[in-house]
Amino acid sequence: MKKERSKKYRVLQVLRIVSQAGFFGLFLTLFIGAHYTGQDYISSTVQRFFHFDPLLALVTLIAARLVYVSFVFALVTVVATVVLGRIFCGWVCPLGAVHQFFSFAFKKTRFLRPPKEERASPAWKYYILIIILAGALLGLDLAGYLDPFSFLTRSFALSIFPGLAYALAGLKAGFYALGITGAGRSISQLLENWTLNATFIQGFAVGILFLGAIALNAWKERFWCRYLCPTGAFLGLLSRWNVLKLRIDDEKCIKCGLCTQHCETQANPYPNEKWRSGECVYCETCAAICPTAAIGFPLQPAPEKLANVSNVDLSRRKVILTTLLGLAAVPFFRLTPSRKRASLKLIRPPGSLPEDKFLAKCVKCGQCMRACPTNGLQPTLIEAGPEGIYTPMLVPKIGYCEYYCSLCTQVCPTGAIRKQTIEAKNKIKIGSAWVNKSRCIPYVLGKPCIVCEEHCPVSPKAIKLVEVETKLPDGKIAVQKAPVIDLELCTGCGICENKCPIVDDPAIYVTSVGETRSEKNRLLLQVIGETGEPGK
């Protein structure tokens, strides 16, 4: 038999790689673009990717019981998947591209030697999907933890780019030390121009998870896509009716098994009847490497049998059990005091929905933290309970809320942070500032300071100065101007805390109380009702 590989599918394979590189490049461009560009409003950012994600669309719809119009784009993905199969996973998904690239690298370096036949079950991702959907029924949004866009954006925002920023800063210092000032200066300008935030609580942990997900490719090719990705699972369920069906020409096939061994996503091309269209991402590898060009994907608009969707044993019993597990898990995510009483440190970005709606909508992608010009938005760890891990909160000690900036509200893919004009944002209160008089310089040391007052951005200022007498250790009395807060004017932006010269534990600090979005976390009682009647 004549041994010749299929030219057509090798070209398609190259095209697929070009497509993946292109979409990854687009993702990266949009990701970097999410910063202050010189314009108050930025239009297209990486949230566009999210809007094409049907899992996020569905979970947000179910969990928050809200229709978010931008998710209409997800229908494109749904239709494409129904007609053409999981081309989204193979040709578009930027996280898929990352895993693909590292699988390739691990194969070339022989870290990864795929077995002739893979026995591990790809069913796990379906169970993960079921648990996420079951949780969404009860308003729990878990999609963000394993959704590929959320995972990738969060990892890039909180660890990869911060790591890069650190590396660049090191390189810059090296250039300066060597006297290559021009190059060093270019780096410093780039860091400022792109707002490469480098300081993140949990940055290390998020980075380790990302590197771990990449390292898993050394064990199984595209491990994430095969066993973990709930979006892939969702698309897998949709791809049963697609028109591109793998066909092996029995006359040409020499039963070498290369196709099954090197299938990226364990779709099992050989034998033909065992091929799982729900797992196939149309990477074209099998067709391209087949030594006799026996494999093709002809148009065949016949629906697959359900059993053949993935050939994974998604028995009714298992589906019911995981659904119940998913539902049962919800209360455990809620065993947290943050539901009962507001957490003082949980200062949400301006425009955030009330906490329960916020948690149901936030997909933990970290875009707001990427866009924040001061690096103040940080991933929450415990303050919002288990379902709030990775959701954004302002940590004024690290960075404050820039007065004329509403970028975080503009880049949020789900509207958990509602889009705000600068004017609207300036009216939102995200918390309240407090003076710790036992640490404040004028109050304790009797020395002048007023740094907080100087930085207070509202006019008239929310920080007023009053003269206070301080008894000094030698018994003398010092009189200084010291800060007091007008809580009606304070927006909670936190610049006072950020700029306070007491660096370790600022003498002025912001807590969440008084935030506009909450009806419970109130401070100033509206004693006079809007009708003017007292006591309303």
Binding site: K172, G184, R185, Q189, E402, Y403, C449, S459
Partner: protein, 299 residues
């Protein structure tokens, strides 16, 4: 000569012609006779800046051919020009052009901002204005500083921006604003934006710090932007109603005298400002304006 430059010179020439005899007379008599201070009032921040420098004898008096020049405005805040929190961009633009025309090798506009640098540079309007006039405008790199011996009364040493240290000539271009601690922030306070380090700790003895810094930086020229001044809620204001139109620029070589003259716009007598007193005692200049030749013009 470029057409743009020609048109510009024509405009400036036209503007100064009514005062021609005095301008050219002053120049002919030589810098010895030039006024110590020039205060020019007018509708255009750009033109009054050029006029003020001309009244002092022209930029060539302060900047030589081949000089590396730093122009140091106040760009501390993320505020647009009508808030009067940052130096007027037109004033900066006029100075960049004058410095270029005087034959400088390079002109750099820089300030260590308080809000995000990019926001301050862009929204103050200074980035566009300075770039259009041919200046470079890098963001401050907080790591590119040098610990310098200031030999001050209080500040013995501090981190100074290398960009400023490397310059041959510095032109200080502050804006006149209200400040809760030192009452007014003008030229002497503006040096806090030319340094690195924990600047917020300088507030514990701010007047002294300002004097120590003023003694260290030796600007060739100080141009105080009092076109629109900030009269309350300083030093950043936030409402147009916090500002007042004075439409004046004060230029001079004596940093103490320039600030002393600026105080008048706020109806504050110079001797009420502690830092001016300390600076005069230190011999950095004088706030006794009556002893100086002051040229006042209106265009």
């Amino acid at each position: 000569m470029k057409r743009r430059n020609f048109l510009r010179d024509l405009a400036v020439g036209g503007a100064v012609l009514p005062w021609g005899p005095r301008v050219f007379g002053g120049q002919a008599a030589g810098p010895a006779q030039a006024p110590h201070l020039a205060a020019v009032e007018g509708e255009s921040p750009y033109l009054i800046t050029k006029e003020a420098v001309a009244a002092l004898g022209g930029m060539k008096r302060f900047v030589g051919r081949g000089d590396k020049v730093i122009i140091k405005p106040n760009i501390g805040w993320d505020r647009t020009p009508e808030m009067a929190a940052c130096t007027n961009p037109e004033v900066v633009k006029a100075l960049v052009e004058l410095v270029h025309d005087a034959g400088a090798k390079s002109v750099t506009v820089i300030d260590n901002t308080t809000n995000q640098a990019k926001r301050c540079y862009v929204r103050s309007g200074i980035l566009d204005a300075a770039k259009a006039a041919g200046a470079s405008m890098p963001y401050v790199d907080e790591t590119r500083v040098k610990r310098m011996a200031l030999k001050g009364e209080w500040l013995k040493e501090w981190d100074i921006l290398m960009d400023v240290l490397e310059a041959d000539k510095i032109i200080n271009v502050p804006i006149a604003k209200h400040h809760s601690l030192c009452r007014l922030t003008m030229g002497m306070k503006n040096w806090l934006g030319a340094i690195g380090g924990a600047r917020n700790q300088l507030h514990q003895k701010l007047d002294q710090a300002m004097v120590d810094l003023t003694a260290f930086f030796k600007p060739a020229l100080t141009v105080l932007d009092a076109y629109r001044i900030l009269v309350r809620n300083g030093p950043q204001g936030g409402r147009v109603s916090d500002t007042k139109l004075v439409k004046t620029v004060v230029a001079g070589t004596d940093p103490v005298a320039v600030d002393a003259m600026g105080a008048a716009f706020f109806d504050i007598r110079p001797q009420e400002l502690l830092y001016l007193k300390l600076a005069q005692e230190r011999g950095l200049g004088t706030f006794e304006l009556e002893k100086l030749r002051v040229e006042k013009r209106k265009i």
